[in-house]
């Protein structure tokens, strides 16, 4: 078999590889058979007799006080079993401890069309649905806040009282190094406004949850969740029963992409109703409801200012962002930091100032979607680099190569970088695409665009502060030779079960079929924080490796005694154990376990993983650190019709620094899936809203809460893809592995914009890129105007006094040099730049570009 994977460090790679038995080979995923036979049990496939079917009553207005909820018509229906209102679940929850702002069912106030305020349960889904519609709700409308601009100029009424400033949920200003001096050293300074529209994950499986009570204060919940541990915490907080009596089981997710990583109101509601009604309670959201659950990509406006020397190297960058957060916190505080945190991980950026603000608006809450907060600034950065290359007369690939970050360095914002395979990635896509021969030289209408990215392999810190492992694995072995592996990880389609199994199989020299997995069960499996932030392969991989190595060690000790050979001489391979120089004396693995079980009694081991501590010590330094970062480079080829602006993506070349591919087929699947999802966002997907006309209530409603209108790429929309994997064997990864599921999404959007520029000379500084934007640019070009389409202004935001952090190059220690928190109090009155609400509404803001 040809080994197509390219190695950064041949010697190290060969040394590791020579010992590997299964890792690195394209084996069938362990759940592959279940998935193609329909046996995989997704949450909605779990059925119990006597189930009560639950429907949520959702707000029909965007912002209002609840005056009255009348259940009388609903309760009169035959088959209705019970109801639930917010007062019965009075404790708030939320994924981040700093923004626990959700009630399972709204108490007093509803904050967006679709906000849940009551629940009804019935003997069938049909009856529950009819009963939910029969619930009469009386509202007292409040002012609707529909955009960041409106939030800025409408401090009252506050959507949440805990916001930093009026309806600005979170403000961040972090200054690393001497940005002003850096700008002065620059030969050219580029300043651009960008806009990145929000989008939904559109996982094909709608969220579903089913709960049953086992005692008066004991409950089990099956759910389509990426993070059973965090759901467990939310249930503990809201149900008022001890954590030890709540069990959350994560079913295999039918896709998630970040959309199932919050604890959700419907999960709490069915758990509560199961306890209240004494029978299983189940809810499966409709597609429309999934759009209300949302937690998708934040719409982000950006103002990006970067200084370049003539040689293309960067002297300083100042990035300002606004995030349209929707009605609740969700992961939003982290998302806000993420719109700035990873800008430094790809290229040398000696001085960097990041300002970010997230607004509360009366829309479904935004949260984490594949790439969490980083695709938006990555889009701006990579498009601006393309502009800089053209201004400076440097090839865009060459410009990036000149700016590459050194491996094993600490960035200006105190992120510890490990291996970097970006140079090899750029070279791969440049060669693959024939970049040098073709870039800038294709006929009018054809173009190539290049972009790069970096991404975390697991968030360095857990969601809530603690010193416990972020991933744990337990292994049970017995005389059968079967190895049972227990881990809280959650299979969301990415192949985490296969990674868990292959690491154990590799260490013990057994087949994947000799392993039984028990995963994602808070009662039975040790905690793993969940399938988010590309953390599973690295963290679960390490924990599994440690547990398996401890098991191997125990077995080896007993077998060595038994065979009277040195322990270290024993080899575990082909389901056997043998001294390295006496393979003919091999014993079956199961026999080795019998020897160990006889010697030590019942066998079991554990493994756990805690990431290394990051060097940053300033407030906000918790977002961005990771044990190691993946790198990607992409070239995209596009064909644009200059008459209509219609375009087609012809081909994508993607090279990804994966550290090591534990299963190349799974890894390639993640890379290809990232390209696909990136194209969806670049070309068509948008979670957009509109105001109904006055005569129809004037409410702010979702423009397209159905798959009929929310367009996503189909079979005919996918270009040809060529994927290269670069192995850097990072010492922080298990067997050298890094992530693959998010990083390769990031270059796609800017590569498309850059390719369109190469094709027709039009700059589109926002996504999704609609053909009419290109046409508008072409017309501007024809009329001698600037052929650029995108936001023309950036909102006037008072980000407050920045936190000053000296960089490693300045001799900093990772701590902040000042404490601006004290001066933050006067912020609201200090916002003298705020416009009047009416004026702001009249102005053509960037947010309205895609929402009218």
């Amino acid at each position: 078999m040809v080994k197509a994977i390219s190695k950064l460090n041949d010697e190290l790679a060969d040394a590791t590889e020579s010992q590997l038995k299964i890792i690195g080979k394209p084996f069938r995923r362990v759940d592959g058979r279940a998935k193609v036979t329909g046996q995989t049990q997704f949450a909605d496939d779990v059925q119990f007799p006597r189930t009560a079917y639950v429907k949520l009553v959702r707000s029909t207005v965007p912002h209002a006080r609840i005056k009255n909820i009348d259940f009388s018509a609903a309760l009169a229906m035959e088959g209705v079993l019970g109801t639930l209102i917010g007062e019965e679940l009075p404790d708030k929850f939320g994924i981040l401890p700093v923004s626990e702002d959700e009630h399972a069912l709204a108490v007093d106030t509803v904050r967006f069309v679709g906000d849940a305020l009551a629940a009804v349960a019935a003997v069938s889904e049909d009856i529950a649905h009819a009963a939910a519609l029969a619930v009469e709700v009386e509202y007292e409308p409040l002012l609707t806040i529909s955009s960041v601009e409106e939030a800025l100029c409408t401090p009252e009424p506050q959507i949440h009282e805990y916001a930093d400033d009026g309806n600005i949920h979170k403000k961040v200003s972090l200054k690393f190094g001497d940005v002003e001096a850096g700008m002065e050293q620059a030969d050219i300074i580029l300043e651009d406004n960008f806009f990145y529209e929000g989008s939904n994950h559109l996982a094909l499986e709608q969220h579903s949850a089913i709960a049953f009570a086992e005692d008066d204060d004991r409950v089990t919940l099956y759910s389509s969740t990426q993070c059973p541990h965090y759901v467990h915490r939310a249930l503990t907080k809201t149900l008022d029963i001890p954590a030890s009596r709540i069990r959350v089981i994560a079913c295999s997710n039918g896709g998630a992409f970040g959309g199932k990583s919050d604890p959700f109101n419907h999960e709490i509601v069915v758990a509560k109703l199961a306890l209240k009604l004494g029978r299983p309670a189940k809810i499966t959201l409709t597609r429309e409801e999934v759009f209300y659950c949302h937690r998708g990509r934040h719409p982000v406006q950006m103002h990006l200012k970067t200084g370049f020397r003539k040689d293309g190297t960067m002297t300083a960058q100042h990035l300002r962002t606004t995030l349209d957060g929707g009605a609740y916190g969700s992961y939003g505080v982290a998302s806000t930091y993420y719109t700035g945190a990873l800008q430094t991980t790809t290229y040398k950026l000696p001085n960097y100032w990041f300002e970010g603000a997230r607004a509360f608006t009366n829309k479904p809450p935004c949260g984490p979607k594949r790439g969490h907060g980083t695709p938006q600034p990555r889009f701006g950065f990579e498009v601006q680099l393309d502009k800089a290359a053209h201004r400076l007369g440097i090839d865009p690939a060459e410009l990036r190569l000149r700016n590459l970050l050194e491996p094993n360095t600490i960035t200006a914002n105190w992120l510890q970088i490990g291996t970097i395979g970006l140079k090899e990635c750029i070279e791969a896509v440049v060669r693959g695409s024939g970049w040098k021969e073709r870039y800038g030289k294709l006929p009018e209408g054809r173009g190539l665009g290049l972009a790069c990215s970096a991404y975390m392999t697991g968030a360095g810190l857990p969601i809530y502060w603690n010193h416990m492992p972020q991933s744990g694995v337990q292994i049970k072995l017995d005389r059968s030779g079967n190895v049972a592996v227990f881990c809280g990880e959650t299979e969301i389609g990415q192949g985490s079960d296969s990674i868990l199994a292959v690491v154990v199989a590799e260490v013990l020299g057994i087949d994947l079929k000799d392993i039984r997995l028990c995963v994602g069960d808070t009662d039975l499996t040790p905690v793993d924080l969940g399938s988010y932030s590309s953390r599973v392969t690295l963290m679960v991989g390490h924990a599994a490796k440690q547990a398996a190595e401890r098991a191997r060690d125990k077995i080896a000790e007993a077998v060595a005694e038994h065979m009277e050979v040195p322990k270290d001489s024993l080899v575990f391979a082909n389901r056997t154990v043998f001294p390295a120089d006496e393979p003919e004396n091999a014993i079956e693995f199961s026999e080795a376990v019998v020897i160990a079980e006889s010697r030590f009694g019942t066998l079991g081991t554990t493994g756990s993983y805690i990431p290394p501590r990051a060097p940053g010590r300033y407030r906000g330094a918790g977002v961005g650190p990771s044990p190691t970062y993946s790198y990607s480079a992409s070239v995209l080829e596009v064909e644009v019709d200059p008459e209509t602006g219609l375009y087609e993506v012809i081909k994508v070349w993607m090279a990804h620094d994966i550290g090591r591919a534990l299963n190349p087929v799974l890894a390639l699947g993640q890379i290809e899936g990232s390209i696909y999802m990136g194209l969806g966002e670049a070309v068509m997907e948008e979670q957009a809203f509109r105001r109904l006309p006055k005569r129809l209530s004037g409410a702010l409603v979702h423009k397209m809460p159905s798959m009929l209108e929310y367009k996503s790429p189909g079979f005919h929309d996918m270009p040809e893809m060529t994927c290269y994997m670069i192995e850097t064997d990072d010492e922080q990864g298990p067997y050298g592995a890094k992530e693959a599921g998010q990083g390769p999404l990031l270059p796609i959007m800017p590569a498309l914009a850059n390719a369109i520029f190469d094709a027709v000379g039009v700059r589109v500084d926002q996504v999704p890129i609609h053909p009419d934007f290109i046409l508008k640019g072409l017309q501007a070009k024809k009329n001698g105007r600037d052929p650029r389409v995108g936001p023309t202004s950036f909102p006037d935001v008072d980000y407050g006094e920045p936190l000053i952090v000296h960089t490693p190059a300045q001799g900093g220690d990772g701590r902040a040099a000042n404490d601006p928190k004290a001066s933050k109090k006067g912020l609201r009155s200090a916002s003298g730049t705020m416009k009047k609400r009416e004026d702001a509404l009249k102005e053509h803001s960037s947010a309205t570009l895609t929402t009218d």
Binding site: K35, V36, D44, G255, R287, V665, I675, F715
Partner: protein, 180 residues
């Protein structure tokens, strides 16, 4: 209406995967609902409730049908096939094998619908090209794979069924070779 079956309910014997399923169900319920709830055949999935995603596709008399739009009472007496009927005994269907081996199923939620539509295609076209496969599957949405592996897996399964030893390019298993 048989005795004991109230208004608004229907009683029927459905023929699914060659077996008879006696079911009683609300007359307005779709085939998707009856398959999942009454027949307990939960391999067939739902994703959109309005015929856009293809997750619910099954075969009715050999033709792909979106079961979320199919009123059950109209298919009584017809031959219905679902993903549970693809296997022969304990042996996987070639489509199931190639989808599992090539990573054409990631989360696996769209997979049953896609397998059924692909099966209908292969019944009529033993050697489909990329465009024929894309056309046949254009009503199915997959959010995980980016579709290429699905097309290649269908071609691979078709080859296996023909007894041809064609298999997808090595690049799909190990990544592409970087040109010099």
């Amino acid at each position: 209406m048989p005795p004991g079956i109230p208004d608004g309910m229907s009683a029927a014997v459905l023929k699914v995967n060659g077996e008879e399923y006696p079911v009683v169900f609300p007359s307005h319920h779709t085939l998707l609902e009856v398959l999942r709830e009454e027949c307990q055949l939960t391999g067939t999935k739902h994703g959109c409730e309005l015929g856009e995603c293809g997750a619910c596709a099954v075969l009715v008399d050999g033709k792909p049908v979106l079961s979320c739009l199919q009123i059950t009472t109209d298919v009584i007496g017809k031959s219905i096939r679902t993903v549970e009927g693809l296997q022969k005994g304990n042996d996987l269907h070639p489509l199931q094998e190639t989808f599992a081996d090539l990573g054409a199923a990631q989360c696996g939620y769209c997979t049953p619908g896609i397998l059924m539509v692909a099966e209908a295609l292969l019944e009529n076209e033993p050697e489909p090209d990329n465009e024929q496969i894309a056309e046949a599957l254009s009503g199915n949405i997959c959010r995980c794979t980016g579709y290429h592996r699905i097309i290649e897996a269908v071609k691979w399964a078709a080859a296996k069924q023909r007894g041809d030893d064609w298999r997808p390019a090595e690049a799909l298993f190990m990544g592409s070779e970087i040109p010099d």
